[in-house]
């Protein structure tokens, strides 16, 4: 049965030091509130998985939550670098990390394979590139029917998947609309799934459009209004492109970043408190 928990309690129970975590979202519906709670609780040694690690992953990496990152594109979309990710990769700040790098196609297929209970994903990726030389988890197999050489990567089977959605109903069914990335696959591939939502309603289904993930695949639902900020929730609020553009200036210098995180994230009671501080100081 789906549990309805406070976000802090859900994180405390399920996001444990050393676990692998996929907090997914492809530009849209990124679970920022959950990431901020992980930082507030000071959880460390995570193996982070994400196609497009963005600001919330930059924050977790900079605050020392991660031992490893499995990813396919690590930048601030349309803006430039993620400076904490770069500093970790280039200078081992705040500590050395393992980086397992893929292409989007590989990551997407690896999630789909995990959702389907497969040990690996088979596709036609990476041909001719240098990636197989730097990532030993990219391997090649022969098609038993045609003899064609195909690419294999291990399926993603995260201990915990966290996604953000527009709605859940009282049974724990999840409803989302807009760009859905790999979130459904991440939930179905994970041992434990936590979904933060804008609102909890009586009933959701697909009759008016959108996509439902049924309740028996969802372990925990947490209400977290505005919980995707500075990403967005289609139909609820827009992407704060302005905040994405300011993130470089906040995060470029490590000390300034630490100070900012302390003031806005670590010392806030919760995500709503964090947002109120940002608003008071003119960040939104």
């Amino acid at each position: 049965m789906t549990a309805f928990l406070e976000l802090a309690e859900a994180v405390r129970r399920h996001v444990t030091p050393g676990c692998s975590l996929a907090a997914e979202g492809f530009t849209h519906l990124i679970p920022h509130a959950a990431g901020a709670e992980i930082i507030r609780q000071g959880i460390r040694h995570l193996r982070l998985i994400r196609m497009t690690p963005d600001i919330i992953y930059d924050q977790m990496i900079g605050m020392g939550c991660a031992d490893a990152l499995v990813f396919s594109w690590g930048g601030n979309p349309g803006v430039g670098s993620l400076f904490r990710l770069r500093d970790a990769y280039e200078n081992s700040v705040p500590h050395a990390m393992e980086f397992e790098e893929h292409s989007h196609a590989a990551m997407a297929h690896a999630y789909a394979a995990g959702a389907a209970g497969m040990p690996c994903a088979i596709f036609k990726g990476y041909r001719g590139t240098d990636y197989p030389e730097v990532n030993p988890r990219i391997r090649f197999v022969e098609c038993p029917f045609t003899g064609e050489q195909l690419t294999a990567v291990p399926a993603h089977r995260p201990d915990v998947a966290i996604i953000h959605a527009q709605r859940a109903d009282r049974e724990g069914n999840i409803w989302m609309t807009g760009i859905l990335g790999v979130q459904k696959e991440a939930v179905l591939a994970a041992e434990v799934s936590i979904v933060t939502v804008e609102e909890i309603v009586d009933r959701v289904d697909e009759r008016g459009g959108g996509t439902v993930i049924p309740h028996w695949a969802i372990d925990v639902v947490c209400e977290a209004p505005l919980g995707a900020f500075p990403s967005y929730a289609e139909g609820c609020y827009d992407r704060s492109n302005a905040f994405y553009q300011r993130w470089g200036e906040i995060s470029k210098d490590y000390d300034r970043f630490r100070e900012w995180m302390q003031r806005y994230v670590v010392s806030s009671d919760d995500f709503t408190d964090f947002l109120a501080k940002l608003k008071a100081d003119g960040y939104v």
Partner: protein, 267 residues
């Protein structure tokens, strides 16, 4: 009538836009490729089907998106599919005609590096990485490459092969199992380079107005081949510049109005 003044980057975007036809289906990255495709759709290619890797099929944003997944892209899309469907069915399945790529480095066979500058384990600069590029370069029927021409970008040897061009490591696309022609044109701020049909090496075929072949040669770290008959790009028209300059990302979000102030929360 005198020609309007323009920036070399605007010439580059305009030249790229002109290579997109109205019946084209184009997979677009953020930055200059996105500007070029949006310009094309607003000028000579109104039926251009634009695809962003976030899963938006045949979208028509009214503002220039900042990211590949801006709200505008999904709201204006004919269809929004999951990312596994995008990369599996649509891209690998061969349903996308043109891929539009940028990079930090390019070599003479138009293979690209967008992964690291320097050594992979200890790079001078860690770039964002591959994203969709290896498979976009592999499985679109053709690719267009957009990047500024200078010796740091047009290199003898890539620091890392993120995507394969016309050939790579002495092997042809066919030998590597890659369908399609690969790069058809490399559009720079100086001109356009196109692959020699026999060798796959990119050759300077077109110069933008006011640029000399010597400038392009000096901006390339390998001995750049120049076509016997060089074409000259037509300068951007007033209309093209007007549309291009009106393209801007939307920075408006309704988020501020939705956040309760500290006082409201304490009530």
């Amino acid at each position: 009538m005198s020609e309007p003044a323009y920036h070399p980057e605007e010439m580059m975007v305009v030249a790229a836009a002109r290579l997109l036809a109205s019946d084209d289906v184009v997979f677009i990255g953020i930055g200059l490729p996105s500007k070029a495709a949006n310009l094309a759709r607003r000028t000579h290619a109104p039926r251009l089907a634009m695809i962003y890797e976030s899963g938006t099929l045949d979208t028509a944003p009214t503002a220039l998106p900042l990211s590949i997944g801006d709200p505008e892209l999904s709201r204006m899309a004919r269809s929004v599919v999951s990312v596994p469907e995008m990369f599996g069915y649509w891209l690998q399945g061969g349903w996308i005609r043109t891929g539009f790529l940028g990079a930090a480095q390019i070599d003479r066979f138009a293979s690209l590096n967008s992964t690291v500058i320097g050594d992979y384990r200890k790079p001078k600069v860690r770039l964002p990485g591959a994203g969709g590029a290896p498979e976009i370069a592999g499985f679109c029927r053709r690719t267009l490459v957009l990047l500024r021409q200078n010796p740091k970008a047009f290199v003898e040897k890539l620091d890392f092969v993120t995507t394969v061009g016309t050939r790579c490591g002495g092997r042809s696309r066919q030998q590597l199992g890659l369908p399609g022609r690969g790069p058809e044109a490399v559009i720079t701020d100086l001109g356009i380079l196109e692959p020699d049909p026999d060798t796959g090496e990119i050759v300077l075929t077109t110069l933008h107005p006011g640029v000399s072949a010597e400038t392009a040669i000096a901006a390339t770290a390998w001995p750049l081949r120049v076509a016997e008959t060089l074409r000259r790009t037509e300068a951007p028209t007033a209309r093209e510049l007007e549309v291009l300059r009106a393209l801007a990302p939307s920075h408006e979000s309704n988020i501020a109005g939705l956040i309760p102030s500290a006082r409201e929360r304490g009530r």
